[in-house]
Symmetry: D3
């Protein structure tokens, strides 16, 4: 069933990536038309699909892909740590292009793939709720924090609704001890995106993208109005993961902060 | 089993209404004597029942129905928006009569059917806990906020315990998209009333009357001491409700605030 | 200088009372026209004054006094504990009449003389800020809490701005030990009313009406945007007051709660 | 499977007590070596067990039992109200000896059996989270609050990690109405201790030791990072307990505060 | 003028110490009788003075000094870091003796000289209000935290009121850069003690003993009901202090935490 | 007197701007060497001055100006709303260059001229403290929010301390009604910068740059440890400003939000 009568055409950026490709299938019935975009080659495979290729760093291309769109799932951009120049082009300029083009095209809502690395420098023993301000752990995380700020700005100034998904570790299975806390199944990601589209009102909202794990660090209770109720849990894999031995140990900063193995990249802080 | 050895006789006001009539049956074993009151005709049907008819606006009648009572389930009064004169008589003067008569009769505890319309003007994206002060959406909601204030006053000044139930949408089934958040089953209402009676101490407490719905707006965690654990969920009806299409859409204020279709009644605010 | 270009005609209710009469003089230049209302006789004494007599319990009279008014200083009604019938007529029905007539007349802002007795049942050792919900100490305090609820309702539903002044002890001098905390000078009351009129925006705001006393219980910091800065202090009178001996002593409830000598009126709570 | 590669030898104090004896069996595989200590006689029964007898009040004995230890489960000391001299020797001096010897021996983590009686004087209607500061109900509870303070001090000053378990009512079954809220099954205690050992980082953390009871007073959500998920519930025994009639009734202070029957011991407060 | 009609005889412990000796003079008129106690020799010098010598570690002596006393200023005990045995005897057992003897003698209020070293391990950049739980920096600070816990226990269980003064740096002048934040003048100490005695109700309250310094770390606003308004400021000495050069520099832990030079004593924490 | 022995050479960026030029004089004695940088021409005028010209968008130039620097006052960049390309170059890339060059050069502390426009979209009736996350009102404000995020990142990851000054309206005099709340005198700016340099520890701190105005919206109390105590007040100019008539009126968004006349620039939000 279509998620929301107000959204006839939904654009998915990064549609050739792991998560984008999954959502393309899982949300096939979410709207009359799914428009797919990526810098990598893509082809429409079904009647409800459209393709609009292009670089996020190219504003004209982004404007073109936004024509006639009602809602955006913005999953494009660089998904890990990279050089400042690359991050700047794809994630900072790219996300600005998305929202500015969305404003010009009259888009009503943007679902943004933010990341737990936007809050990666919080200590592991501190539970975070959805009001926790960013503390990025990398330039990548910094660019996600900037995207969340764009979401806030375009909502406050121009009324474009947004949900920023601080996605944990979205993989087929949890792969190390940290992911017993941070794992999100693909199916739960799709459930969350559906609810972000279904809700009649979302204003500008942050939500953690995480399954119903037993060893959780993040608290979504303030955004229960979204109705997101994860159905999978990393705990199912706990024995296997613990037997596999993937485990960060203090004083490795990967063990001390939310961001895990992104934290030690270039880490130089003392004290 | 009787709920509480301290409560031998319990008065139910509004006992001929939908909720009152349900509770009359569901709580048949809750105390040695159930006294039933309404402005509409009622007859005792069982050995443990007593009837005390009367208008809430008539203090002498209220005083009479309170004789020998230990605890009150105050479900009487006007259950929807109405004229100021009617609301004033039945809900404002009426509730004052209930508490003042309760004080004179030595009643120990009042369970009050307040309403989500006492907090109906909060934005839909804001989760509310049991400390949220009233923001009524109608004159009806205003009278419920006044009832909660009476509960506070008679507890602080005279020690009468109270639980104010901010009841959501108590119907056989959820009927529109909003009720996926606000629905309360009859069975959960009875569970909640039982726990309000069983608890050895309640002081003056607010609790949301709502089932275990997935798309919840209200947070009862601060009053977990009551032990209320709902067992039903509106999500069971989600497909049916969504297929039925009952859905408020922005900028209709019914979509933007907790109170739903009560909000647009006479709404004139701009900005 | 006129306080606010948007307010050409200001209505003062209770203009024959102590505070009303003071404000009539102190705010003589606050607007082009001051309209004065009371149930007691009043006469215009200056070109900028108009008189509109009438009972607050009489809706037609209230509607008449509201014609052409831009802002209201609502200081009318019963100023102390009284019977339920009197409180109901003057303060509950009366205040409803004020706001409903204001809505019909297009009034933009209401400054409401609430009272510390709306929060009189908080323990004396608890500091209150402007978000503290009411805990009235008397039927009088209960009616002031109802007035604050009306203010909220008419702002949320109809956009009428309001400032609720929780006035402490407004007398020429502090008269007992408690007033070293709760005293408000007449001059500070006038300063506060001016700022409530001057501010371009007030939404629906609660502020404590109190001077800059050393032994303060109330915290106005959240409403600093009003710019109210009291210039008087009860501490100037501390020696005199302490020599005079007016002092509540535990376990007298007058010593234990914010509301002072209003608390013991009819107090029956045990434990 | 061993809980944590960093903990090869774990010391259990109070190993001859009810909880200590249970943990000795339940955690048999938690580390390569379990060293057992008590003032009462004990004998090693398995290859992985060591015995180190001694009084907690004797520092030399405590220093000896700490040699080569990586982590401590400190369940020794007096488990109920007693004279000041006894409490001082076993619980205040004794706990100091534990932490000071741990510091000298290079112990990395201490799991401390604190108690709900450290917070027993909070009102029963107030939900507590893990930041609630102590309000002890007895000299026993006071000594547990002191133990929590030692944990904080040795973490802040010397980096010894700690988890303070505010254990509710750890018995084979709940035995009265209050235990419907406070009960902890033996199995859940073992689950909790395992998670306290497994976690790579715990800093200095307080957690309530309680099962997943329906009528709960305590909120562990801030320490979800521990991954403790109780699997038992007192509600299973609710009918039996309520039929048995064990129930405190106001104004008995045992009914009014978290600490239950410890509260009336010597209670003399009025008001 | 006598501070409080309820307190005819006030006991000062530690009356031969720096602060005790100052208060003996400054509060000479605070009650009809000042009873002075210390382990060091003392003699009465005025008609309103009594002397009761004795060790705090000797319960019989403490019981004797408490006879007929209405309120206590407990300034006795060891005022700096010392061995565990000395701290245990004078500050832990000693303070227990004070409160237990006070309970037996019917004392109504205890003013306790706690210390900033009870909260010395908070980071210097974190402002603390009066709800901040202890984080002691030394065994001395730990004993002060224990005294605060005794105050809470004897208030909750036996109704003895208490004010715990977390005294900063009480010297004739600030002597280093840290004291620009933490200094308390002798005169402000006396002002604070007067207000603690004058207040009709204090329940169990924590207050920081500090002057009106510009570079403040501590926030007394929640206890404004005491009416403490310091009149001195360390800023007056800022040039002199800064020219003198007394300044802790990171990474010295004395620069990083509230407790200053007490923090490095025995500090071994890494990370 | 030099502010801080740890800072021998301080770099001021934007030293040819209004605020930079003022600080160049006002802080002449703050360190042994002041290095001045701007894209506009500058010349050293005193023995303690050095000049290092260059564009912020040119990383090599920024790296050169950072050699040998201990602390930075980063006042460079575009000071008002501009095109995305200009903001991106000077404020986003420029600020990244500052922090990255600072990291490479071993700079210890950065004082960053953020702006109230980073929080300009908060409603005018909401008081903000220093934990309020950004809600920018313009692309300019968005770039300042990004600068604050850089400060957080480089502190968390690399230990570079930072103070972000959310400067209000820094002009010789307040010029309109809004500036009665937001004005900062030049002298107070210099006082604030001095304290940011003097403090032995600042971690990563936000502070509002504002004088001691009566009609204040911003609350610096959480950072009192800085010791900033403004000495000027806009209220001195209140009569003059109000007579001049500069006043935003609802529903102009300039009247409704903190950001004033920046808010209406391109504002298109409805509802």
């Amino acid at each position: 069933m279509a998620c929301n009568p107000a959204f006839r055409r939904i654009l998915i950026t990064g549609a050739a990536g792991n998560l984008g490709a999954y959502l393309r299938e899982a949300l096939a019935d979410a709207a009359a038309v799914l428009r797919l975009s990526d810098r990598r080659p893509l082809a429409a495979r079904a009647a409800h699909e459209e393709v609009a290729a292009g670089e996020l760093a190219d504003f004209a291309a982004v404007e073109a892909m936004m024509t006639g769109v009602d809602a955006v799932l913005h999953f494009g951009g660089i998904p890990e740590e990279d050089s400042w120049d690359n991050i700047l082009a794809a994630n900072i300029r790219g996300s600005y292009h998305i929202w500015e083009a969305a404003r010009r095209a009259g888009v009503k809502r943007v679902i943004f793939a933010s990341s737990n690395h936007a809050i990666g420098m919080y200590p592991r023993t501190q539970r975070l709720d959805t009001d926790a301000p960013p503390r990025p752990d990398t330039l990548y995380g910094l660019s996600k924090a900037f995207g969340e700020q764009l979401a806030r700005y375009y909502f406050d100034k121009h009324g474009i609704e947004a949900v920023c998904l601080r996605i944990g570790s979205c993989f087929p299975e949890p792969r190390d001890e940290r992911m017993l806390a941070t794992w999100m199944s693909y199916a739960d990601l799709a459930r969350l995106c559906r609810r972000c589209l279904e809700a009649p009102v979302v204003d500008c909202t942050v939500v953690y993208g995480v399954s119903a794990n037993a060893r959780l660090w993040w608290d979504n209770s303030k955004v229960d109005f979204l109705g997101y109720r994860p159905e999978d849990s990393a705990e199912f894999y706990a024995e296997k993961v613990r037997a596999g031995g993937g485990r960060f140990t203090p004083p490795d900063p990967a063990a001390l902060f939310h961001g895990g193995h992104f934290v030690p990249i270039g880490y130089t802080r003392q004290r």
